[in-house]
């Protein structure tokens, strides 16, 4: 569990740079999009694990990138703390480095922030094998350009994550889940009412004809919320759910079955329902209060062309099976940033986008 293999990893990257042999960086290898990259040598980070520094009173934790998320979650829970971005745990061996590289955040994302909002610093290996530190180990730090937050969602293409420092928060005191049967159309209007209300929401999704609302606050506050819930959505029922939110976060529901093509739409939450021909209501999963919408469909439906105009008009973007398009206006900066940190393009080449 506690193992520092940084020297070995630095060596590997350095050698690969010398020989110009591309590397595929893997943590637990559990991410749904972690398919093998062409002609890449695997660089395993799961052995590089363990907590370096954790002081609950500082609200920060520094750990090696290969540390399993499950272990981390338990460790924080023992101090009644948590990662507020609620990273999905796809498999038992899913790592914190993987969660950061993929910027994976769970149902609480709109209300508790994403990976970028809780990342405080990183130690990385560049594509030339240099070890650099950006950010720090304290919650407030504005020295130097912010080259650490861009590591969230870069899929390892800007550097191999060695160590990360995260902000942690006190655990939510009490949590309740409320559910009701609802059509997709009805769900859109209910979600809008709930978002506009003063309810302490930290999860709001719709799938398979069911609307689910998660509230998080003190017991007192939750009790005080009851009249408001009845006013907004009288059909909502308090439910005891087992692992429901984990299943949504960890993509364990049928929609994510691998025989489907998975489309993820990231939209302003208030976007009205997008009517896309050929996509039935049952193919939709609305999460993040409407800001993240998934479609699981047969190949070819909807087409890229259908999607791009609809989604762009709504002020959002989409990815299909993890692949998205970087806007042309920003492509030159992306290429420059990539070439600064990985001049020989050996770190997960084309993993983020074929455009890079």
């Amino acid at each position: 569990m506690d193992n520092d293999s940084s020297a070995q990893i630095v060596d590997t990257v350095h050698n690969s740079y010398q020989k110009r042999t591309p590397l595929q960086i893997t943590g637990g290898g559990s991410h749904p999009y972690s398919t093998p990259l062409d002609a890449c040598t695997p660089l395993h980070l799961s052995e590089h694990s363990g907590v370096i520094e954790y002081y609950p009173a500082e609200l920060t934790i520094t750990l090696r990138a290969g540390t399993p998320l499950l272990h981390l979650k338990q460790l924080l829970a023992a101090e009644r703390q948590m990662l507020a971005f609620e990273p999905p745990i796809f498999e038992e061996n899913s790592t914190i480095g993987g969660a950061i590289a993929a910027a994976s955040a769970g149902a609480a994302r709109p209300w508790q922030g994403g990976v970028r909002d809780h990342l405080l610093g990183v130690k990385i290996i560049t594509g030339e094998g240099k070890v650099l530190q950006f950010g720090g180990r304290v919650v407030k730090n504005v020295a130097g350009y912010d080259l650490f937050r861009p590591m969230a969602g870069a899929y390892g293409t800007l550097g191999v994550l060695l160590e990360v420092t995260l902000k942690v928060l006190p655990m939510n005191e009490a949590i309740e889940t409320w559910q009701q049967p609802s059509s997709l159309v009805e769900a859109n209007s209910l979600m809008s009412k709930i978002r506009d209300s003063s309810l302490p929401v930290n999860g709001l999704c719709w799938h398979a004809e069911q609307l689910s609302l998660r509230l998080s606050a003190s017991e007192t506050e939750l009790t005080a919320c009851r009249p408001l819930i009845k006013e907004i959505a009288p059909s909502l029922q308090l439910q005891v759910v087992d692992k429901f939110w984990e299943q949504v976060n960890d993509r364990k529901i049928a929609l994510f079955n691998k025989t489907h093509r998975i489309i993820r739409l990231s939209l302003p939450a208030e976007t009205a329902h997008l009517n896309i021909s050929g996509v039935e209501d049952s193919a939709w999963l609305l999460d993040w209060g409407g800001a993240q919408r998934w479609i699981g469909t047969r190949d070819g439906i909807p087409s890229d062309k259908q999607l791009s105009s609809i989604v762009r008009e709504a002020g959002g973007w989409y990815e299909i099976d993890g692949a998205s398009e970087i806007p042309q206006t920003l492509l030159p900066l992306h290429k420059k940033l990539k070439s600064i940190l990985d001049p020989a393009n050996i770190l997960n080449p084309k993993k983020l986008s074929p455009q890079l």
Binding site: E79, G114, D117, R137, P150, I326, K336
Partner: protein, 488 residues
């Protein structure tokens, strides 16, 4: 710098801008010689004050054509000299670009121009029960454009985050006049998080010309507790106790004895002047239902931690009064000392006692008093060095003292700036915090965004030569920080 090009630029600007938008006479330039860091002053080449984005674009394009650098300025409240002018550069002030472009109540966001003041944002959505969370103490004057450039914090960022956590999208004008959009109205965006990279880049990577901020719902209830302690160490431990008890206050501030005395005589906030340290702990509640419970829990933690006195503000008026002491702490110190120099390090809070002890020793060494104000929840320390600029050589002593404090922050695992930025002020300290490799990458990032190096030259990131030439280099764990560089 080519003076012929400067003349050509000024001629072109005279044709472009109305007379009142271009200042070139020395007496008109005087007020722009410095920002909030008054110790560093330079006269700008000229000052231009565009009235709209179109004018700004023309100015920037002209500067690009003539290769004349630009220093961008908002309200000039920055405390690190990020907007300090340079005699070679045109100062561009964005305060006239102060339109609120659109409020989106349904998504709780607002799009605005960079010259809107921080407080004006919250005022504009007060009637909707919303507000903008980051609240630097200069919020009445400072602009959102400046906040984005500096990634500003404030007393409430322990719970609600910094600027970077509350901005969804910006439009950035690059040094060639082209405009790019970073971020978006969705919660994440394709590609790299260039939005985060641009926020806090101190005007080095582009000019922020439009900002979309996230708004929060105003909490129904707020309470303010004051706890007095017999030592700063005990107060520091109490802060940790609050947090480990699972309480996340919306503000958690600390002041030492010298600051308490000054603030009390300035603001009559009702502070116990016999205390060695006080904590201000603000609690908020979304619905208000659990506020009494939160107050009770916090009070009991503070008592257990050895508070000798606890005051809970009885009403909003008393809260405002108690906050006034803290918010007026800097001017209050200004009344007891001809000049003061604000430091801005962050430290892991567990080292607070040791760091304050060391600062006390340094205070003796330099024979300069220090007062300490502390965003305790975040570990962000503001030691104020008291001095008299009219005494010759004293400023130099102050700077040396300050540099030692910042090194101390780095040694205990902290940072040289928690929220004020590097600007023109902390370039030397940057050499201690970052390796030359890291600095080298920063310079490359600068070049990627601004290949001609026209934006705010000489700020934020020190040259490697500067670090090598520094006489007083920091030797960390016996290692010279930039061994590969020649020493001159």
């Amino acid at each position: 710098m080519n003076s012929e090009q400067q003349t050509l630029l000024l001629d072109a600007l005279r044709t472009l801008l109305p007379t009142e938008s271009l200042l070139t006479e020395p007496e008109a330039l005087k007020p722009y010689e410095c920002d909030g860091l008054t110790a560093l002053r330079e006269q700008p080449l000229a000052v231009s004050i565009p009235s709209n984005i179109k004018e700004l674009k023309q100015i920037v394009t002209l500067c690009h054509t003539h290769q004349v650098p630009i220093v961008t300025r908002g309200a000039g409240t920055g405390l690190a000299g990020g907007a300090r002018p340079s005699p070679d550069a045109l100062l561009v002030t964005l305060t006239k670009l102060n339109r609120i472009i659109k409020i989106y109540p349904e998504s709780r966001t607002m799009t605005l121009e960079p010259g809107v003041t921080n407080l004006a944002i919250s005022k504009a959505v007060e009637h909707l029960g919303l507000y903008y969370a980051p609240d630097p103490s200069s919020q009445i004057a400072c602009t959102i454009g400046g906040n984005v450039a500096e990634n500003s914090g404030g007393v409430h960022c322990i719970k609600y985050g910094l600027t970077v956590n509350n901005v969804l999208q910006i439009k950035l004008m690059q040094s060639n006049g082209e405009i790019i959009t970073l971020g978006g109205r969705s919660l994440d965006n394709p590609g790299y998080d260039l939005l985060a990279l641009a926020i806090g880049s101190e005007g080095m990577l582009g000019m922020v010309i439009e900002i979309t901020v996230r708004l929060l719902e105003q909490p129904q209830q707020k309470r303010l507790l004051l706890a007095a302690f017999e030592s700063v160490e005990l107060a520091g431990d109490a802060v940790s106790d609050i947090i480990t008890a699972g309480i996340l206050p919306s503000g958690l501030e600390m002041m030492d004895h010298k600051t308490i005395i000054a603030a009390e005589s300035f603001a009559h906030a009702g502070y116990p002047t016999d205390a060695e340290a006080i904590i201000l702990c603000e609690l908020d509640s979304r619905s208000g239902a659990d506020i009494d419970q939160l107050v009770k829990k916090s009070r009991s933690v503070l008592q257990q931690s050895g508070a000798i006195k606890i005051i809970v503000a009885e009403d909003e008026a008393q809260q405002i009064k108690m906050w006034a002491g803290r918010k007026g702490a800097f001017p209050a110190i200004g009344r007891i000392s001809p000049d003061y120099y604000v430091m801005d390090g962050t430290i892991p809070r567990r080292h607070l006692g040791a760091v304050l002890k060391q600062i006390k020793l340094l205070s003796k060494k330099y024979a300069l008093p220090v007062a300490n104000v502390f965003h305790a929840g975040d570990g962000n320390l503001h030691p104020l060095i008291l001095y008299d600029a009219s005494h010759s050589g004293e400023m130099r002593k102050v700077e040396e003292f300050g540099t030692e404090i910042l090194k101390l922050c780095i040694e205990v695992g902290g940072t040289i700036t928690g929220e004020h930025g590097v600007g023109a002020e902390k370039l030397d300290a940057m050499c201690s915090q970052f390796s030359s490799d890291e600095l080298h990458y920063f310079h490359q990032v600068k070049e990627a965004f601004d290949p001609a190096l026209l934006l705010n030259p000489g700020k934020s990131i020190p040259t490697l030569h500067r670090c090598a030439e520094l006489g007083a280099m920091h030797v960390h764990h016996g290692k010279l920080p930039h061994p590969e560089l020649e020493r001159f």
